[in-house]
């Protein structure tokens, strides 16, 4: 499912428009790790609808193809749907680590990593990046190599600095500047 750069660019702006239409909510919001925003993106509105889910899948697959990766990981329940279907299409195993804890009752994370240790984290929305970082720490302490985190939407509240400062390449598919919030016009053009 390789996309040319321009197709990927089109998918990015399509996803940004879908987010504006379906997933953008106004008001003051707090993230679980304490980040704040005056609007909120609910990616469940994208992942629960088959057509927009497919766009999100294709964009994510396109980024994964550029990487050397054995497994992908979800940092939260919100990201589980996209991680599960992307894993299936990319033929990569998915791991679920919620709020820094693996969700498995009787299986050790180490055992799930024994066939390949390169793990890419895929988040739905990032603000401060704290949730992704604590997921990376859990994975690393189980022996994983975590060098990249993909996020569907970055609200530009510090995630890039935090993650890159911890040796994690940060790949947002859509950024706050790509989204126009009513009363807050999109800054500049998409990159």
């Amino acid at each position: 499912m390789a996309q040319t750069n321009s197709t990927a660019q089109n998918l990015r702006s399509t996803l940004a428009r879908l987010i504006e239409e379906r997933a953008l909510f106004l008001g003051e919001f707090k993230s679980p790790s304490g980040g704040r925003s005056d609007y909120y993106i609910d990616m469940a509105m994208i992942f629960t609808e088959p057509t927009s889910l497919e766009i999100a899948i294709n964009l994510t697959l396109n980024e994964l193809e550029k990487l050397s990766v054995d497994k992908i990981a979800s940092p939260s329940v919100e990201a589980d749907p996209i991680v599960a279907v992307v894993g299936m299409h990319a033929k990569l195993g998915s791991l679920f680590i919620h709020q820094g804890e693996p969700i498995y009752a009787y299986e050790k994370l180490e055992n799930l990593l024994n066939k390949g240790k390169k793990v890419v984290i895929i988040a739905d929305v990032t603000l401060s990046g704290n949730t992704v970082l604590s997921t990376a720490k859990t994975l690393r302490s189980a022996g994983a190599e975590v060098r990249t985190a993909i996020t569907l939407v970055d609200l530009e509240k510090g995630a890039r600095n935090l993650l890159e400062g911890n040796g994690i390449k940060f790949v947002p598919l859509v950024e706050a500047k790509d989204i126009s919030v009513p009363g807050k016009p999109r800054k500049g053009s998409t990159k």
Binding site: T48, L53, D80, I82, V85, K91, S94, F96, Y104, Y106
Partner: protein, 217 residues
């Protein structure tokens, strides 16, 4: 066999979420770690839905149950191109603080997709929440642990469609020599004993409408 290979079925002594002890444990949260298994399981769900439910009932939404059932429900939603909804386990105190994710209309027909059924208690609770939004008549699960689930669900007007019964899994594993005869006996005795206990218990607790839903094969 797929499930044993990936460690989704384990034998030993386990404490269940219902506080009871069990000599075996099924954890389908491991399935997505093996993309071929997730894909295959997704196809099995789709077959059952197409053959047993869709001929008589139009499905508007697929409801997943976090956390164990959400990945497979998403896969089924994507394969069938039917929108997904899910009820959040805990109301989050951040973001939008709402408990239903996805878009759903009053009177939508909602198909509940979960990983497994034990006594049916948690499935009935989940269906109860969804019935506050739309119509819920059918539940599809991968595994029926055969501890009174189908009987208890029917009493609540819910038809259970399961892909595999746990005793069939055990019989198959014994035939392959994948589990020792002793283990087989222990788990079969456990299923029999707990099936009795569970149906007796829940009979007292419920007494609502009967429904002529198709029973799982």
């Amino acid at each position: 066999m797929l499930l044993l290979r990936i460690g989704a079925i384990k034998f030993g002594e386990f404490t269940l979420s219902s506080r009871g002890k069990s000599p075996y444990y099924v954890d389908l949260r491991l399935a997505p770690s093996y993309p071929d298994v997730l894909d295959r399981i997704g196809d099995l769900y789709v077959d059952v839905v197409k053959n047993e439910i869709q001929p008589n009932w139009k499905i508007d939404r697929i409801a997943g149950v976090p956390t164990a059932g959400l990945p497979v429900a998403t896969v089924v939603s994507q394969k069938m191109r039917i929108p997904l909804i899910y009820v959040r386990k805990e109301r989050k105190d951040y973001g939008l603080s709402k408990s239903i994710e996805g878009v759903v209309d009053t009177n939508d027909n909602i198909l509940l997709v979960d990983d497994l059924v034990t006594t049916g208690r948690s499935t009935i609770e989940e269906a109860g929440i969804l019935r506050g939004i739309g119509n819920v008549k059918h539940v599809v699960v991968l595994i029926d642990r055969e501890q009174g689930g189908p009987e208890n669900l029917i009493r609540e007007g819910l038809g259970l469609h399961c892909l595999i019964k746990i005793t069939d899994v055990f019989a198959y594993l014994r035939e392959l020599g994948a589990i020792p005869p002793k283990t087989y006996e222990i788990v079969m005795d456990y299923v029999k004993a707990s099936e009795k206990a569970s149906t007796q218990q829940v009979v007292v607790a419920s007494g609502t409408n009967q429904l002529n839903s198709p029973k799982s094969p």
